[in-house]
Amino acid sequence: GASGKEGKGWKKFQSYKGEGALPPDVDRLRITVDRKAQTVILPIHGFAVPFHINTIKNVSKNDEGDYTYLRINFQTPGQLAGKKEDTPFENPDATFVRSISYRSPDGHRFDNISKQITELKKEANKREQQKKELAD
């Protein structure tokens, strides 16, 4: 029923059409980057939850004691206070996942994942930029 207030300029994107397309290694209950699907799959209490790169804003990483913490920040409405919103949303009035944080004793792996996500985001931004330039 949100069609009436569907955000202007929002272009549909989707990670997977069905469960069969999930990469098999999600069964390890670890963060998985699926470059082909432009998707990061997060383990959330036994679920394998895909998040398309378009929903991801950035990642941050920090070390604390025996653990490395990785925080994935998502695109949500109203993050640019006072600025004109330039990210269109399908339904700005929905509930959004804003961030999810994980910890692992394997800092090297989290470092690697953080780089992969950042790289994926860069590629997506670049494609978006090229599309805009072509449209002009």
Binding site: Y16, D27, H45, T95, V97, S101, Y102, S104
Partner: protein, 186 residues
């Protein structure tokens, strides 16, 4: 005459990291890990059953008495029909399919379902958060709610440890309600 038990191998009980065997028989269901622990559900306690895709392939979720549920992960798609028949014949329970979202969207709606907070994308579940494991929650801003999770694993961390989710934050447009007069001005 009772039928022999049907066994499913490499089945996980809950979020345990070690797989075990699940047996289904007229008398009920029993899961046995590599240790000596057995989790048994007598047939009379089985109220409902659901089938859904999770990280470790498919999950059989069984509703038992006292509004509790137990979950078994690691089934393959081909197990569905066999399970459906077993559950129907032994416990008169239908195996209901729960639809899961794989769209990859971070927006939807939250829904309290028993002891879980479910996040639904286009009316399909994307994930569930067990509220019993929420250690702390906060209204972090006008429209932001955070849930922190306790980490039950007290074991010393190793390289093979799982990625533990420690916090999730939601942007909830309607979360902010005007403070009462007594709180105003703070």
């Amino acid at each position: 005459m009772s039928q022999p038990a049907t066994q499913f191998d490499a089945i996980y009980y809950g979020l345990n990291s070690e797989p075990g065997k699940l047996r289904v028989a007229q008398s009920g269901m029993a899961w046995k890990g590599s240790g000596s622990d057995i989790t048994a559900v007598p047939s009379a306690d089985i109220k409902w059953a659901q089938w859904l895709r999770v990280a470790r392939n498919f999950q059989l979720r069984v509703g038992v008495k006292d509004r509790k549920k137990i979950c078994f992960d690691g089934f393959v798609r081909e197990d569905h029909d066999k399970l459906q028949t077993l559950l129907k014949n032994y416990f008169s329970v239908a195996l209901e399919t729960k639809e899961v979202s794989f769209k990859g969207w971070n927006w939807g709606e939250t829904d309290f379902q028993g002891q879980d907070l479910a996040f639904l994308v286009s009316n399909r579940v994307a994930f569930e958060l067990p509220l019993a494991q929420v250690a702390n929650s906060n209204i972090a801003g006008r429209t932001e709610v955070s849930l922190e999770f306790s980490n039950p694993s007290s074991k010393a961390p190793t390289k093979s440890s799982l990625d533990e989710m420690v916090e999730i934050r939601f942007h909830v447009p309607g979360a902010y309600t005007k403070p009462r007069a007594s709180d105003a001005g703070s």
